[in-house]
Symmetry: C2
Subunit: 316 residues, 2 copies
């Protein structure tokens, strides 16, 4: 079962970690959102890519979900003591990643190439790919503050402004990272991880060429919304502000015809019938990943569900 | 007694710290070598400026003399784990300084302006000035490796290559930092700190316009060579490789007509007569600064020696 997981930050990283342990080494490719990437102190920061890699490497901070464990904050403390900007919290270990990545980018290496090298250093056996090596910037369109680059919306303004829409600056000219198209083409199953559909998954689906190939594949999504609430982040708030009731059903309909199957939380089982009516096979289970075992078990169920759908498809 | 101290790294920083405590606040200006400055990870690193400021702020690492105390090395550890360059050891706190300085430089602020703001944050009441806001790079000319940028010679190759000379790239176009000329013009005494004459003091004296004003002033130097050896760094090795016997006498003759007085270590008192014959008034005392009290006492003696010479000059 060759699997490609589309992932954003914490939720996506957790399921990717489960999949990496369920599948034989080499059978998983994680394509990661880079729309959140930005420059801070002239360093290239790739929050989702780092969260996925740190999680797969077992060095993620278990409390925050982002950043590294056993982290210290001395550089940031120096910066703020000198009157510099402290709104984006970079830890010292994390800073090493940004410094070395930026150094390599400036020397002419591509983000996908650097990520592959970093993954080797971190002992990650799955393939982790940025969605693109080109620059794409997610812009959150808001009522109060107009267009906001994602990190300013997300970290500096803590998702407070009311959202009216999104755009992905640079996406028209973005090419899929080398290997992304091939991985999707040869995959038996595409898993859309429980990441924010608007700002984590949507940028990946908007990279020219990727959606068309994904549409030809068996796709299963895992709901990031449980009982009307996002496990983490502003997904539910975004749906509500865009006039949509935040629910697993809304997410399933959001992806619509792209999906063969949809994994939702057991607490939302009452929505199964409506999802089924939308032409998507629902699968209810415990989707909240608290422990490492949760990740493994959910990944196992998602792969099992995919195998079942694959068989069902080939039978019809 | 208004004093301008010309300083490089550790030795200069220690005497500057003594002078800052001996003189009333506001009576000391430290003009610091920036020829060692370089870019690493695209960060502007100013080793001498930082050593002077950290020392004056009381946050210098007492063991190394450079960097900050209570330092951690997590970012560097990340970098080297990812296969990045680790030859220049940047601590996490120190990194904060470089990041914020570089951010401000890129936003258009001048190094002297940034340094003044940092000094306020660090609670430094003396004026600390880079010799220039323009880029100057000390190049060490060597037998084995040709021209080496200073930090590569000093840190990466640990001063091993044999020196044939020095040049200061960019010095012809360098203007003194705002305030440097005025501070020197209005000073009662110029103190050349016990810093490396070739690579710490010489760049300052080569900034167009500075030497001419310094020549009109009362100048006292403190020997960085004690009993034929440099307290720290490659000064003695450099003299030897350039065919000069490393000694306090050699240093005194090196500065020559610039000096009214020369402070040398008590263990070199036998050289006093020869220094006197060169037209320079010698003053022998304990010049090794081990404790904080040593810095204070030596600064007091240097200022006292300067006052005496000033009186002697005005009497003749």
């Amino acid at each position: 079962m060759r699997v490609v997981a589309l992932a954003g930050g914490v939720g996506g990283a957790k399921l990717a970690d489960g999949l990496a342990r369920v599948l034989p080494p080499g059978d998983l490719t994680v394509v990661v959102n880079t729309g959140d990437d930005f420059d801070h102190f002239d360093l290239r920061i790739c929050p989702d890519l780092d969260t996925v890699c740190y999680t797969l490497a077992g060095i993620a901070n278990p409390e925050t979900g982002w950043g590294q464990k056993d982290e210290s904050w001395q550089a940031l403390q120096s910066i703020t003591h000198l009157g510099g900007p402290g709104w984006f919290r970079i830890g010292d270990r994390d800073l090493g990643t940004h410094l070395e990545r930026t150094r390599r980018l400036r020397s002419g290496q591509r983000l996908s190439q650097i990520t592959a090298a970093f993954c080797r250093s971190w002992g990650i056996s799955s393939q982790v790919l940025p969605m693109t090596d080109d620059r794409v910037s997610t812009i959150v369109q808001t009522v109060e503050m107009g267009d906001l680059p994602f990190q300013n919306y997300f970290v500096e303004y803590q998702c407070r402004p009311v959202v009216t829409g999104f755009r992905f600056a640079g996406i028209e000219d973005a090419r899929p990272a080398p290997g992304a198209r091939e991985a999707i083409e040869t995959a038996d199953l595409i898993v859309i991880c429980p990441s924010n559909p608007w700002v984590s998954i949507s940028p990946i689906l908007h990279v020219p060429g990727l959606r068309q190939i994904i549409e030809t594949k068996l796709v299963v999504a895992v709901s990031p919304i449980i009982h009307g609430k996002a496990v983490k982040g502003p997904a539910a708030k975004m749906y509500a502000e865009l006039g949509l009731e935040p629910s697993a059903l809304t997410v399933a309909r959001h992806y619509g015809a792209l999906l063969a199957g949809f994994v939702l939380d057991r607490t939302d089982a009452s929505l199964e019938e409506l999802i089924h009516q939308s032409g998507i096979i629902p699968y209810a289970t415990n989707t909240l990943m608290v422990t490492s075992e949760d990740r493994y078990r959910l990944a196992q169920e998602v792969v099992g569900f995919g195998e079942l759908e694959k068989r069902r498809k080939s039978e019809t």
